[in-house]
Symmetry: C2
Subunit: 363 residues, 2 copies
């Protein structure tokens, strides 16, 4: 049973998404920016973070949990650090604006780092980190997220899938982009298994008793995703440590919420009582490569790094070693030409949003 796809042009999808964000109250500028972030996920093949999420944002806005007319402001700063109060706005726009601040600081002082509080889901991490590339900088983006992941030895969901992203420029090669959840598997993989009625492999999920399970439905029955490493013996404490680092940089350093207090993405779940901070948190940064060495020398070595790894001898049955970010760059180039395939459920979701917001459906 294969899903039915509706292939749409990037510009048509973008126009519709912009009109939806505007109808939600966003300024023209914010609607264009938010749409650009979603679009970049759809173009890069990270479909879980593209327009598939739009209905979630609409519901959070309907529940008064997203302020679409937010005016983010810097509430604390030094030459190279800042905290941005996102004013309860879209993470999509808050993180992108924070990255512009980080890049401006890096231009002047070599590096720039911005923690963001009082924000919401920021979309695909790579969009924000990759803004650094055109400035010949290395970009970084972190965010905490709805608690779904248990630390090693715990039964409780205390962490999000808390992604880490680094974008690193190269010369004639594609930039190297690492964009990864710190859980063994992202929630999207469970969703796919559920849709297909399939089991999931051991090592992704534990049930509410803390026992490894192959049933993807156990997540909603009180289970928890496992951290990268899956078991203590295979290093799950390392995935837990990485997720903790992301949570602390995003949540504690910014004055946002952290751990089990991070507001859920789904609007039907209540907020936790006694929240210690404001909204969800992100952390972004940029460093000038030529703060360390001439950019051309760096790019020459990066191209050599990529060539050497790419030409590495593979294990039997695998045709190539993959450079981080390479599959996404390929899909991006492809979808720019051939369009973005939306699964039917997402297509219908967009139709429903348009009906609800009294907008013409133009796809």
């Amino acid at each position: 049973m294969s899903a039915q796809y509706h292939t749409v042009t990037p510009s048509d999808l973008n126009a519709l998404t912009i009109s939806i964000f505007k109808r939600m109250g966003c300024s023209d500028e914010d609607a264009i920016l938010a749409s650009d972030v979603l679009q970049s996920a759809d173009l890069r093949g990270i479909d879980s973070h593209g327009v598939a999420r739009l209905s979630g944002y609409v519901r959070l806005w309907s529940a008064d949990r997203i302020n679409t007319q937010a005016k983010p402001s810097i509430i604390h700063e030094t030459h190279t650090t800042a905290t941005l109060d996102g004013d309860g706005g879209l993470g999509l726009t808050n993180a992108a604006k924070a990255m512009d601040i980080a890049i401006a600081k890096a231009k002047e002082h070599g590096s720039g780092w911005v923690a963001i509080q009082n924000s919401n889901h920021f979309g695909i991490a790579a969009y924000h980190a990759m803004k650094a590339l055109e400035h010949n900088m290395i970009g970084m983006a972190l965010t905490n997220a709805s608690p779904l992941v248990a630390p090693t030895f715990s039964k409780e969901r205390l962490l999000g899938t808390n992604p880490i992203c680094y974008a690193i420029p190269a010369g004639s090669k594609q930039p190297l982009v690492i964009d990864m959840a710190t859980s063994a598997a992202a929630n999207g993989k469970l969703e796919i298994a559920k849709r297909k009625g399939e089991d999931i492999p051991s090592g992704w999920l534990q049930d509410k008793q803390g026992t490894n399970t192959n049933n993807p439905e156990d997540l909603k029955n009180g289970g928890s995703l496992l951290t990268l490493g899956s078991s203590k013996e295979m290093g799950s404490h390392k995935g837990y440590g990485l997720s903790a680092f992301v949570d602390i940089f995003s949540g504690v350093l910014s004055g946002a919420n952290y751990g089990p207090w991070v507001p859920p993405f789904v609007s039907f779940l209540p907020l936790a009582p006694d929240m210690p901070g404001k909204g969800i948190g992100h952390f972004v940064g940029a460093m000038r490569v030529d703060g360390f060495r001439p950019i051309e020398d760096f790019k020459t070595n990066m191209d050599q790094w990529i060539e050497r790894f790419k030409s590495s001898e593979t294990v039997d049955g695998q045709k190539e070693v993959i450079i981080p970010g390479e599959p996404e760059a390929r899909i991006h180039a492809d979808r720019l030409k051939t369009g973005i395939p939306l699964i039917d459920a997402v297509y219908q979701d967009l139709q429903q949003i348009c009906r609800d917001l009294d907008l013409e459906f133009t796809l």
Copy 2:
């Protein structure tokens, strides 16, 4: 069969280690610093990175691969970034000095980041990152290392166990210290299994054909350690991505070697031909917490973070959830009082070093 231990006082061990480094040609200041780094590993229970490594440093020095009279110098910098040429010296001292530079930059501008080229093994990452803590800063330390790890789908050793370390201050609680290899298991775990004649679990090592193996001897027979995640299905591409990030920050950004060209720790292995950089590379950094928010607010929230995770409900059979860095802090407090237990092989190694260098063995 349990190993025989010789328990020594920290001050006696330190005195001997200092005298060995001095006999190798280090200045008083460098000998004291290098010994302090090794000692911190032994005190924290990271025995693989303490005096157990001393004979390795001595052999590298004998083979003219470590310059014990190095004069490291800054060869490139901005307000918040710098590259340090380690002059072929001990990584132990180069990384610690680089961290001092990063801290000084952070004091003035909010953050400081130093890439180090032309260096050697830097010991325990946590020593360097934790230097930030007394300044109410967050510290970071990365290093690349001898190639022993294969990227996902590769048969080749292209990466080191490339550790990531973050040290984060807390209030009344111990600082949170993440210090982890980006491989599923560090080499030390294989050494322990070999010594005991035991198999290792699947997921740590592949043989030279790229097939998972339970025989720890397969590493020296052309096999490779696996990245954190162990298999593609469990996220080994994430461990690979993290290891790549460490290699690029440490090696490419600094102008050191990277990937398969990183000089081996063991002196009997030849250097790779056509090395693209100088020595091995590190990357360290510091950020002022009060560059983002008042330190007391941050510490209050960190204490709450730690308390909440610590009091989390455990899975059956586990008595507590562990905070990153907590076991090491416990061992540190303990060994300060009761001494450092050296296994007989390490004790004899130290005796041999003293004979070779015509030094009195004072333990």
